[in-house]
Structure formats: structure tokens, C-alpha cells
Amino acid sequence: MKTPSARNVPALLQALHQEGYTGTVRVSGVPGGTIHLRDGLIGAIETPGAPTATSALLASGRIEDDAWLAARAAEPDADRLDLHLVAAGLIGAAELEVVCTAAVFDGAFAMALSPPGGWELTEREPTLLARPGVEPRPLAEETTRRMALLTRLWGPAGELARVRPEPVIGDSLRPEPVAGGRVRSEPGMGDPVRSGAIAVDRVRSEPVIIGEAIVGTPATGQPAIAQPATGRGAPEADSDTPAADGGHPKPGRRGLTRRHQDLIESVNGRRTPRDLAFARGRGLYAVMLDLIRLETLQAVRWETGTTFDGRPSTAPRVLQGQQGQQGQQASDEPSPRAGPLPRRRPGEGSPFGDLGAKGG
């Protein structure tokens, strides 16, 4: 089929959506990525910049390695793997949809962090898919929203992608806890939790009052996160022994959610947000949000403006909180171009969403 002419990847995906295209879009760049389309909808995105659904399922321990391999062997058409995983009782159908959809949005976001080189269309390559798939317009809009939010919260997303956070050692700066257990917040009570009660400012026709917030382990009575049994299931070794974690003592943990604590376990001064995402089987964007929060809480810190080995960077400095060019990496190495290929069109801006010079 004739490649529709498009000035950038989002426009290309729109055109392919109109046509109900089934096949593959390979986007070159550093790192580039592969977009899988079925009937015009995006079913999966693979990029070195973010974990795929498969990677997340395995690294998080949701599906064990052996079970996965057996499923792959039993279902040769990867497009149908989701049906098999559900039929085998390895994961619920709705949950798998959530994981696969999340991965599409995360992959698009990761690809938006670097400028694309160009693209080519190839035929369908079977892979684990989100069903029914994501439309290109909401995908581009959400990607743009994410980039804008990160810039507002912290700074250019491209720069955030390059930080290598390390844990902050020492006592937590958070206040001493009061007696634990179930906490209820009710209007009129003078307990400390109520002082945290929030009047939600919502545009509604009636006033809304916080009634109560209940904390506790979820009603199922099972632990919030099950421990995976074997193999790759464990999201890397969360060891308590100092030798294993490099010798750094754990920072104070009071008040941090479980997933924040787990993330801090993986933070080691070498890993970028992307590396942390792969290590924990989580999304890149979610990890970035958590890292921003953890930095604010002074549980992690990172240097911006220095290179990995501590030498001052020669990259242009963009200070935190200032509005910078979205999506532009501070020190872009030109990506190697192999030269023009048939049907390639150079993209403008980034693969997803119009970034341009957005104010935060």
C-alpha cells in the first residue's frame, strides 16, 4: 500500500487510523521504537526507552517466567497470546487489558522524549497486544499532557530522563508517627488526621465534604503485594543485607507508600528513571512521577548539570522549575543517520504530540 504522506508520526498514525491499517511502524532515532497497529488502533509499542507489557509482567512478578515461556510455546501467534494467558488462568482479562494499555501510553511517552529520525511501514509482526487498542488522538493528547505536567512539576522531561538518583541517607525528615492502626477522619473530631482533611474544590452544583478516608490493608485480607515464587518474578533482589545493596543504609521510611519504598530500594546512583522502570517492571512515566515526589520528600536526590562521573557537564544548564524547551535533551548527540531509505520521511518535533515551546 502507498505510505500516506504525513509530516510527523502522530499525523501518520492518524492517517493509518482512517485506513484501519494493520501492520508495523518502525521509527528510527535514539532510541526509536516500533508501533504495532491493528485495524488502525495502536496495540503495542516497543522501545528501549520503556518496558513493554511483557517486560512489565515478568519483571513485576505478575507472571512467572516458566508460565510465560509455556504460554509462548503453546500459542505461536503472539497476537493471540493475551487470550491464552487468560485461558491459562495466569491473569485476569481485564487486568491484562490494563497492563497492555498502560504500556502503550508509556511507550508513546518514552518515544516522545527523543526526536525521531524517520519511519517506515512494514507488515504485521505478532506481539502481545492491548485490545481493542488505543486511538492515536487520545494517545498524542495524553503524551502532550504528561510532558507538560512534568515540566510544570519539575522541568524538561528530557532532562529528567537523564538523572541518576541516589537515596538520601539518614533519618527521615518526616514527623514522628502517632499511634497507628485504622484512622478515620470525621468532621467535628479534633484528631490529627482530621487536620489533614481536605475540602475538595470541585466545580459542582452542591458542596462536597470529605466524609471519611479509610486506611488499612485492602478488604480482601491478602497482602497488598504478593511475593512472587520463583525466577524472574522477584522485581530484583530487595535484600536487607548491606553488602547486597551496596552498603548504603536505608533512608527513613515513615509515611512513604509501599511502592515509594520499593522504588527507593532500586535507586542506586547509577540508574536513570528508565533503568528503574525496567528494574521494577513499572512504567517510565509513573517512575518519573514517583521520583519527583521522592525528591520533594528528600528521600532521593540527584545532580542535574553534571555528567555521570561527576565532571561538570558541558550541556546547557536548565535550572529546576524554569520553563525550558520541552522534549529537547540538554546535550543532544546527533543520532547516526544511515541515509535516506525508501518511503522514509523525516519527522518534525517528537514522535507523539506537538511539543513545540510549551510553557509549563
Binding site: P31, G49, S55, F278, F308, D309
Partner: protein, 129 residues
């Protein structure tokens, strides 16, 4: 040139590889005798990797020989949670790179010739002094 300069340069090149190729987590430079030269590591035991790298490449070469597929380029070991790549650096040295599940193998294959060349230069300069 002091004894330190080449080591810094070598580790600098290894760390730079980590910066340039997404998914590279750790790397080890070692000799064909299984000895460690220098490493940019975090969790792996560099000496053990050094000992294994020579054997890995050796077996890879013999297999390439047996299959008549030409000169070995690199050995890529793909695992549940990542990849290990072993590539020769000149005649006497090996580079082992450990990456996660999202290792950009295409980028690695683009970058490794230049990396190997830089490593060779520093190693040759070291020998010359």
C-alpha cells in the same frame, strides 16, 4: 603517562558507553586469560565475569568455526531479565556488557565498533609506555 591515566580513560569509556546506549547497566574489560583489566559495575562480581568472558568468546569462536558462518562478531546471551554481550577488543582483550531487558541492541551494535576502537587506542598507548 602515569599508571592511573589509562585506567581512568578506560573506565571513562565504559561509563560513556552506559550513557550512550540505553539499557547498558554494567561492563567489564578483561584479558583473554580471564583476568580483570577494569570494570564499571554495580552488582556483578567483576573478576568472575572476567574469568567467564574469555571462555564465552572462545566457545563462540569455535562454534562460528564449526558452522562456517565466518568470523565471530560478538556473543549475545539473552536471558529472562536482560542480556550479556561479549565482544573482542583487539587480540588480547574482551569487553563484556550487561544490559537489562530493554537493552538497545541495535544501538549497541552501532556504537560498539567506535567503543572498541577507543579502548584499543588506550590499551595500545598503555603497552607502549
Amino acid at each position: 603517562m602515569t599508571a592511573h591515566a589509562p585506567t581512568e580513560s578506560l573506565t571513562g569509556i565504559l561509563a560513556s558507553l552506559r550513557e550512550r546506549v540505553m539499557g547498558v547497566a554494567e561492563s567489564v574489560l578483561s584479558t583473554v586469560d580471564g583476568l580483570l583489566v577494569v570494570a564499571d559495575v554495580d552488582t556483578v562480581h567483576a573478576e568472575s565475569v572476567a574469568a567467564l568472558a574469555a571462555a564465552t568468546l572462545g566457545v563462540g569462536r569455535r562454534m562460528a568455526d564449526q558452522s562456517g558462518t565466518g568470523a565471530l562478531r560478538e556473543v549475545v546471551i539473552r536471558c529472562a531479565a536482560g542480556h550479556v554481550i561479549v565482544v573482542a577488543v583487539g587480540e588480547r582483550t574482551l569487553l563484556t556488557v550487561m544490559g537489562d531487558d530493554g537493552l538497545d541492541i541495535a544501538a549497541f551494535q552501532r556504537e560498539s565498533p567506535a567503543t572498541v576502537e577507543q579502548l584499543n587506542k588506550v590499551l595500545a598507548a598503555d603497552v607502549a609506555h
